[in-house]
């Protein structure tokens, strides 16, 4: 049996930031477990720039962003194991893991930080009809082949879904000499950041078809083409709008799903909207001493916010080990009002908030000129005017502690049209 104070499961941006922060808060004995061949997670294949604007006030590429944290972790002498898979975690915080060097390991720890990240939605999850040839990949798999393994996946591509990875890959394929015929998005708005639409699609004259989807896939062995159709406001394909695109590659960028198999086996309570664990202000799950942060909790669009959230998990895991977390009698729940899809954290113990309560949320639709209102029970404690809110861009709200009454039951966030 190996013993640690804190074990971090997942060595991507979330796990790295959490481990570093736990060390900064005085915990010596920390282990990071990573299943891939190196630390850094998915950042290592995100070779494009645009990371770190909030965190470092500069534009970094994914590997550069990861490098800063990996070097800090190594300088601190924090233990980590790569190529190591966690097979099982029980609620007494015993971990079973394997790798080729150590064989089968049993690790006992006082606190666990779950930071396993997320996976991509697949064609299967969408049940796109048609044949099942080669040449259909998630955008992330194509990204790994091209950016890390050094192999091209096709010559003529179509992309389904306007998530950021899909947009980034449209440009990447183009730079590598492939022809990208278009990007179809079933929603009437894009799921990606505006800057990516401009710099990845408009720069290269790649059309974006909003309210369109793929209705059929052709090709026996290798993909030969896709049928694309416009959809109505119920997302049902409109007859007569079908158009055929001959292509050998279809990339899917149709959403990310938090990877919570370990959390589910642990019996941690989940939020059906985020598909991640329910967490409190300290990023602690419903099992005491088991924390979670990053995309395993809810899918972020900026790694900077992952870092910020994961530091909180690391800090409070350290406090937990030292017995410094305040267990409150009064549990405040966050409540998604009109126009709000979800809020993280779902539970707040006001005693543990430093100066500000940070809430991450997503809106359910595109809103312009709208007021974002925060209520403590039924009383408005804060409101902000917003020119534009998109479901593709996560919102962060800071509420000063002195504005939150201590005896409330819930905090509600909602959208109200200006003038109402």
């Amino acid at each position: 049996m190996i013993n640690y104070d804190i074990v971090v499961i997942g060595g991507g941006p979330a796990g790295l930031a959490a481990a570093i922060e736990a060390r900064k808060n005085g915990i010596e004995s920390i282990l990071v477990i990573e299943r891939d061949r190196e630390l850094g997670g998915i950042l290592q294949q995100c070779i494009h720039n645009g990371f770190g604007l909030h965190e470092f006030n500069e534009e970094l590429t994914g590997p550069e962003y990861a490098d800063r944290f990996i070097k800090e972790l190594e300088d601190m002498g924090i233990d980590y194991k790569i190529d190591t898979m966690v097979l099982h975690v029980d609620n007494k915080k015993n971990i079973k893991a394997i790798n080729s060097n150590d064989g089968f390991m049993e690790i006992s720890t006082k606190a666990i930080i779950l930071s396993m990240g997320c996976r991509e939605r697949t064609r299967g999850a969408l049940a796109i009809p048609g044949s099942r040839p080669a040449g259909i990949l998630t955008a992330g798999t194509a990204q790994r082949y091209i950016n890390m393994e050094g192999y091209m996946v096709g010559k003529k591509a179509f992309i389904l879904g306007s998530g950021d990875i899909g947009l980034i890959m449209a440009r990447r394929l183009t730079l590598e000499g492939a022809k990208v015929l278009g990007v179809a998005e079933i929603m009437p708005y894009s799921g990606g950041l505006t800057r990516n639409i401009v710099q990845c699609l408009e720069d290269y004259d790649i059309p974006l078809f909003l309210s369109h989807t793929i209705i059929d896939i052709k090709g026996k062995d290798r993909l030969e083409g896709v049928w694309v159709a416009e959809v109505d406001d119920k997302r049902i394909p409109i007859k007569g709008t079908e158009k055929y695109y001959e292509c050998d590659t279809l990339l899917l960028s149709v959403g990310l799903i938090p990877e919570n198999e370990l959390s589910n086996n642990l019996g941690i309570k989940m939020d059906s909207r985020t598909q991640g664990p329910i967490v409190n202000e300290s990023m602690e799950t419903t099992i005491s001493g088991i924390f979670a942060c990053g995309n395993v909790v809810h899918v972020h669009d900026l790694v900077d916010y992952v870092t910020e959230e994961s530091r909180r998990a690391g800090k409070f895991a350290a406090k937990y080990v030292k017995g410094l977390i305040k267990n409150s009698e009064n549990i405040v729940k966050t409540n998604s009002g009109t126009g709000i899809g979800y809020i993280v954290p779902q539970i707040i113990r006001i005693e543990n908030i430093d100066k500000k309560l940070k809430l991450f949320m997503r809106v359910t639709d595109v809103y312009t000129n709208i007021k974002l209102i925060i209520k403590a029970d039924e009383n408005v404690i804060s409101q902000q005017k917003k020119k534009q809110l998109n479901p593709g861009e996560m919102e962060m709200v800071n509420i000063p502690l002195d504005k939150i009454p201590s005896d409330i039951a819930k905090i509600t966030v909602e959208l109200v049209k200006e003038g109402e």
């Binding site: 590997p63 393994e149 720069d203």
Partner: protein, 121 residues
């Protein structure tokens, strides 16, 4: 170019800008559709001298991975992107490489270097 519609990317609002040739303006262009002055600057730059940072990979021998990611350490003119890619394409280097190592000095006389964006042992 006399007039062009572009999407502003200075902030998340994404204003649709209309940039028109106008000799009465100091910089030769008039921008409309913008909600702030940063949008105006962006619109004119996009018409007069659009630039982009390129990110890609180069082939590496004897490293943990067969490719190392790179970027241009500053923006290059947009119309030179594909020419730069051709240069980047030709390079084969050997590990070890450190983050920030210059892979191509002053690519195509742009004054911009191509640098590695990670270590490759």
């Amino acid at each position: 170019m006399l007039r062009k519609e572009i999407t502003c990317i200075v902030c998340p609002i994404g204003c649709r800008l209309l940039v028109e040739k106008d000799d009465k303006e100091e910089l030769g262009y008039k921008v409309s559709g913008n909600k702030c002055t940063r949008g105006e600057d962006y619109g004119i730059k996009e018409m007069t001298n659009p630039t982009r940072v390129i990110t890609s990979t180069v082939k590496v021998l004897n490293g943990l991975l067969p490719r190392v990611p790179i970027k241009t350490d500053g923006p290059v003119p947009k119309d030179k992107i594909f020419k730069c890619m051709e240069e980047i394409d030709k390079v084969v280097i050997e590990a070890p490489i450190n983050i920030g190592d210059i892979i191509i000095l002053d690519i195509l006389n742009t004054g911009v270097n191509v640098v590695a964006t990670r270590d490759m042992k």
